[in-house]
């Protein structure tokens, strides 16, 4: 579904992604782990062109994302993204946060969009918060709204960039539960996370990124229990003590 070939990304002199090849199939849940600054966010942001690509190519369902002829807005409609900092629109009620893109971008009717938003809020367990403003929600609630907002565009794939890293510990579970549910329903997901438990339980494959390269990947069992790469081993020995 998503094919990445020879992806390089530099910020000026800083060569952040140093040639990534990867293939993501439909309904797969890919978890990406790795040390801070290794380029995980940059990788995710390249997939929907929030960062432009220095070289290489990304193909989503046969469409070359970084082709000048590709309408990037068309791609982004199909690729949902959830950010570490939620990025809800503070001047809109929860329901409007969710319905805005379907109404303005998908040209969905207002009634239909409201109906959809209510279903999604139900799904993330926030049916009673439709009329609240983001500032009235806890971090965990905000992130669940952000997930509902992305889902409202009916994307084919969802990208998560450390969705629980900005949360107080007691709120992590409620967000991970929503993501688990989503995975069970067959959503294709790419999740950058420090939640190794989640990666083990939900991930179909786990990839370890270090220094701008995916140095090792495999099933959770392969990666966590019998890592082959020295850097992967070193990373686990540091965080699992």
């Amino acid at each position: 579904m998503i094919t990445i070939k020879g992806l390089h990304k530099s910020f000026g002199e800083l060569h952040v992604l140093q040639g990534i090849d990867y293939e993501i199939k439909e309904k797969e849940v890919i978890c990406i782990i790795g040390p801070s600054g290794s380029g995980k966010s940059t990788f995710l942001r390249c997939i929907n062109l929030l960062e432009d690509i220095t070289s290489g190519e990304i193909i989503i369902e046969g469409v070359r994302v970084n082709d000048p002829k590709t309408d990037i807005n068309e791609i982004r409609k199909e690729v949902g993204m959830v950010f570490q900092q939620f990025n809800l629109f503070p001047h809109m009620r929860v329901i409007d946060n969710i319905t805005m893109a379907p109404i303005k971008i998908r040209k969905m009717g207002k009634q239909e969009a409201n109906e959809l938003a209510r279903q999604l809020l139900e799904k993330v367990g926030l049916a009673d918060k439709a009329n609240a403003y983001p500032e009235q929600l806890s971090g965990g609630q905000k992130q669940r709204v952000a997930i509902a907002r992305a889902l409202a565009m009916r994307p084919k794939v969802m990208l998560f960039d450390e969705p629980t890293s900005a949360l107080d510990p007691e709120m992590v579970k409620e967000v991970l539960d929503v993501m688990k549910q989503l995975a069970l329903e067959g959503m294709t997901m790419v999740v950058v996370t420090h939640e190794l438990g989640f990666a083990k339980e939900v991930g179909d494959r786990v990839a370890f990124m270090d220094n701008g390269l995916l140095v090792e990947e495999g099933t959770p069992d392969e990666l966590f229990n019998q890592p082959k790469n020295e850097r992967t081993k070193a990373f686990f020995s540091k965080i699992l003590v």
């Binding site: 950010f83 990025n87 971008i105 983001p134 500032e135 907002r149 565009m153």
Partner: protein
């Protein structure tokens, strides 16, 4: 010393001059401010543009009007620019209003630019990641938030412009300070007319200040409607239905 024997009756005969001056000051303020807001929006957006032929004119405009004294601009416009375009002067009011407008537009442009830049990058990214084109995101997500942050500096700008309008007395402007000058010359008493002028400016500042803090409260930092505002809107629905 004449400070010990104020004789405000000496200027009572000139009250109509002061009242006229008050109106002219108000007129210059309102016209200059409104024009400055509209023009400032365009110049401010110009300064945010990536296109060089839009950015540079906007930048030089701001540099010129912020980098030279308003009095110099006023004299240039009144004695040189307008006569060379129209063949004759259009009167002090037109010159004064145009100078105030062009000058405050430069300051407003900076307020608008800074306000837009102050919105977290994540807001634009979240909007774009939903498939929203840049312009739509600007209009629906960035500007509504930025405008709120611009309200306090726009308020300061209003008071500053009102006080700056006193410079129009230099081209025999007929506004408040000019009235004071005329009366001081006619009565040979400096204290009473200039004190009267000062007090009248204070009254204007006070009134504008009240207006500004009303608007600021109305658009406070929180997006959640205050109970008072809610009650107002309930009243409206009841009246409507």
């Amino acid at each position: 010393m004449d400070i010990l024997d104020f004789r405000f009756d000496a200027i009572w005969n000139y009250r109509e001059l002061f009242i006229r001056g008050l109106w002219i000051t108000l007129g210059l303020t309102v016209v200059g401010y409104a024009g400055g807001l509209i023009l400032g929006l365009f110049v401010g957006l110009g300064k945010l543009s990536k296109r060089k032929w839009v950015y540079y004119p906007a930048k030089y405009y701001v540099d010129f009007f912020r980098g030279t004294p308003l009095l110099v601009q006023l004299l240039l416009i009144h004695t040189a620019l307008i006569p060379s375009i129209f063949g004759h002067s259009l009167g002090f009011f037109v010159s004064g209003a145009v100078a105030l407008m062009l000058n405050s537009a430069a300051y407003n442009a900076e307020i608008i630019r800074a306000g837009i830049n102050s919105i977290e990058k994540g807001q634009m990214e979240a909007a774009r990641s939903l498939g929203m084109p840049h312009k739509t995101a600007m209009r629906l997500i960035i500007l509504p938030q930025a405008l709120r942050r611009m309200i306090p500096p726009f308020g300061n700008e209003l008071i500053a412009l009102m006080k700056d309008s006193s410079l129009v007395s230099m081209i025999a402007g007929g506004e408040l300070l000019y009235a004071g000058k005329v009366v001081a010359g006619a009565t040979l008493r400096p204290w009473e007319p200039y004190l009267t002028v000062a007090v009248l400016y204070l009254v204007l500042t006070f009134i504008f200040g009240k207006l500004i803090s009303y608007v600021e409260k109305r658009f406070s930092n929180s997006y959640v409607p205050s109970p008072r505002k809610q009650r107002l809107s309930f009243g409206r629905t009841q009246a409507g239905g």
